[in-house]
């Protein structure tokens, strides 16, 4: 059974089709690249999956159940995490607090027990903090745990957002251009972490990325969108040779054919 199954999803904004009849199936523990020129509808796919937009037609199933019409926080609670194209950090909160909010759905305390600081609440808080420190160590931000989000350099902000999305161990992770703005070293690190997520934490990943070397190297399969339509899908090596894809990327033909290093 696929982890995520998108069937015939159409999304319109005032008569303009942002997505038309998109089908996509993600298998367990797969890394799926989602590529396409700017405006192809990649981020719209994310917003439809996470419940920010409600598609006009079609169905989206997560682990077999339809998630259509559910609110974003409910969908997140089911185990779908995401990052954003422009990092949506909690700027004036500490790195630690950013990650702790990522653990929100794991906490069970109510505001009454918190107001009175009942013993169960304290224990839960300690457990959450431990989990958060663990992730911070994993993404290499433990030393800056007490700094404010807005004071981090851009690369670290991206990693923080990444950490915040994976700390509660989602089943499916949606990454929206995680490598944009990262330097070479950071990209290598990202590549390594994403593979670890799949191999060790068994997380299925859907990845939007413009860095072709990264996305072709890391993805098990790649889906290509153009003008809201799916124009190709398959192994990176197949997609790379697809004529429609090359046309869509007109002018970037060379880059696509560049051999893997």
């Amino acid at each position: 059974m696929s982890v995520l199954s998108i069937k015939g999803v159409t999304m319109e904004f005032g008569g303009i089709k942002a997505l038309s009849k998109i089908d996509m199936d993600l298998e367990e523990c797969e890394i799926r690249g989602l590529i396409g020129p700017n405006g192809a509808g990649k981020t719209t796919v994310f917003n439809v999956i996470t419940g920010i937009y409600r598609p006009k037609e079609g169905d989206i199933r997560f682990n077999g159940d339809s998630i259509l019409g559910k609110k974003p926080h409910e969908i997140s609670g089911l185990g779908i995490g995401r990052t954003f194209q422009n990092p949506q950090l909690f700027q004036t909160l500490t790195v630690m607090d950013n990650v702790l909010i990522g653990l929100h759905t794991l906490g069970k305390s109510s505001f009454v027990s918190e107001a009175l600081k009942l013993p169960g609440e304290r224990k839960e808080e300690l457990e959450l903090r431990e989990k958060a420190s663990h992730i911070l160590e994993w993404i290499g931000l433990k030393e800056v745990a007490d700094r404010l989000g807005c004071n981090l350099p851009f690369g670290q902000q991206k990693f923080l957002e990444f950490g915040r999305a994976i700390v509660c161990k989602p089943t499916l992770l949606l990454l929206d251009e995680p490598a944009a703005g990262l330097n070479f070293e950071e990209k290598v690190n990202l590549d390594r972490l994403v593979k670890l997520l799949r191999d060790e934490m068994k997380i299925t990943i859907l990845l939007i990325e413009h860095d072709m070397r990264l996305v072709m190297g890391i993805s098990d399969r790649v889906t290509v969108l153009n003008y809201g339509e799916k124009i190709a899908e398959g192994l990176p090596s197949e997609v790379r040779k697809d004529r429609k894809v090359i046309e869509a990327y007109l002018g970037e033909e060379k880059k696509l054919r560049k051999p893997k290093t």
């Binding site: 909160l93 702790l100 909010i101 929100h104 918190e114 839960e124």
Partner: protein, 310 residues
């Protein structure tokens, strides 16, 4: 080491709060009580405005609902006043919930307008429902009693207000440092990110709003117990604005800001009372100057310069 000093400072401060008052002149005792009530109001409002980032311009209505609610319960139903204080908070919280459910579908200026309208409406009801509130004449509230102990003067009422205020401050602090508090903050910082992490925006906005109504309701009940007289004209839009200005001048979204702001604004208004006619003008000028040179508020600035920067 820092924490060690902080604890000592806190304990000394607490001890002083309990020991000094009997030595104060009645006028100062009155002022201290007054300030404590406004600290409760400002701290409550800061939960919804400072931490959750939702505008509320109707805080005086909840202040009034707490004051009228507790006074009427004790006068008409003969419920002991000490029980009426939490009940005043509960009634106010209930109305807070009724307003929050539809109002918090909106945000920004729209939310400001709805809460402003609610404040006006409540004041109008206080004025017009003469059978219950005695309209513009207001209500005289008997001195609260606990068994045979009467809170007969400001010195006795002080301890009642102080203990309640400390209790509420601790609650506010606990909330802010917990999962709920972080959910509040996440909404303020980025609703998009918050909901993608599973934070139920509506639920937490309502919780914050209801809490601030609860705080205001308790403050209203204490106000009645302390001043012994309430009338509708107190609970108008200018009252709401003054709560707001305390939060902003002290430092919105900081833990000590509203406390500093309440102390500062009350003392300032009191000092300016001497300057008949000029009071509002000078108050206005000071507010403008403050906002220009200290846009983060008094405590907000101190925190940024001396605490966060370390």
């Amino acid at each position: 080491m820092m924490n060690y000093y902080k604890t000592i400072l806190l304990l000394v401060g607490l001890a002083l709060l309990f020991v000094i008052p009997p030595f104060l002149k009645p006028y100062y005792m009155f002022m201290v009580n007054y300030i404590l009530i406004y600290i409760i109001l400002a701290v409550g409002l800061n939960l919804v405005m400072g931490y959750t980032g939702q505008i509320s311009l109707g805080n005086a209505a909840f202040f009034g609902i707490g004051a009228y609610g507790s006074a009427l319960l004790s006068i008409k139903l003969g419920i002991p006043f000490l029980i009426c204080i939490p009940l005043g908070g509960a009634i106010s919280a209930f109305f807070g919930f009724l307003v929050a459910v539809p109002a918090l579908r909106m945000s920004g200026l729209y939310l400001a307008m709805v809460t402003l309208g609610f404040g006006e409406l409540v004041q109008l009801i206080f004025f017009q429902w003469e059978g219950l509130t005695r309209g513009p004449d207001g209500i005289v509230i008997p001195k609260p009693k606990f068994g045979s102990f009467e809170f007969s003067n400001d010195y006795r009422v002080y301890y009642l207000i102080l203990i309640t205020a400390l209790f509420l401050l601790i609650i506010a602090r606990n909330i802010i440092r917990s999962r709920t508090g972080r959910a509040f903050l996440s909404i303020r910082e980025s609703e998009t990110a918050a909901q993608s992490l599973g934070v139920n925006l509506r639920y937490y906005k309502i919780v914050a709003f209801v809490m601030s109504a609860f705080f205001a309701g308790i403050a209203g009940a204490l106000y009645g117990a302390f001043v012994h007289y309430i009338s509708p004209d107190i609970f108008g839009v200018f009252e709401s604005i003054s709560h707001l200005s305390m939060v902003i001048i002290g430092g919105i979204g900081t833990n000590l800001g509203p406390i500093v702001g309440a102390i500062f604004v009350i003392i300032l208004l009191e000092v300016l009372k001497g300057l008949r006619g000029m009071q509002e003008i000078i108050y206005g000028i000071i507010l403008v100057v403050f906002m220009i040179f200290m846009s983060k508020g008094i405590w907000g600035m101190i925190k940024e310069r001396y605490i966060d920067s370390r």
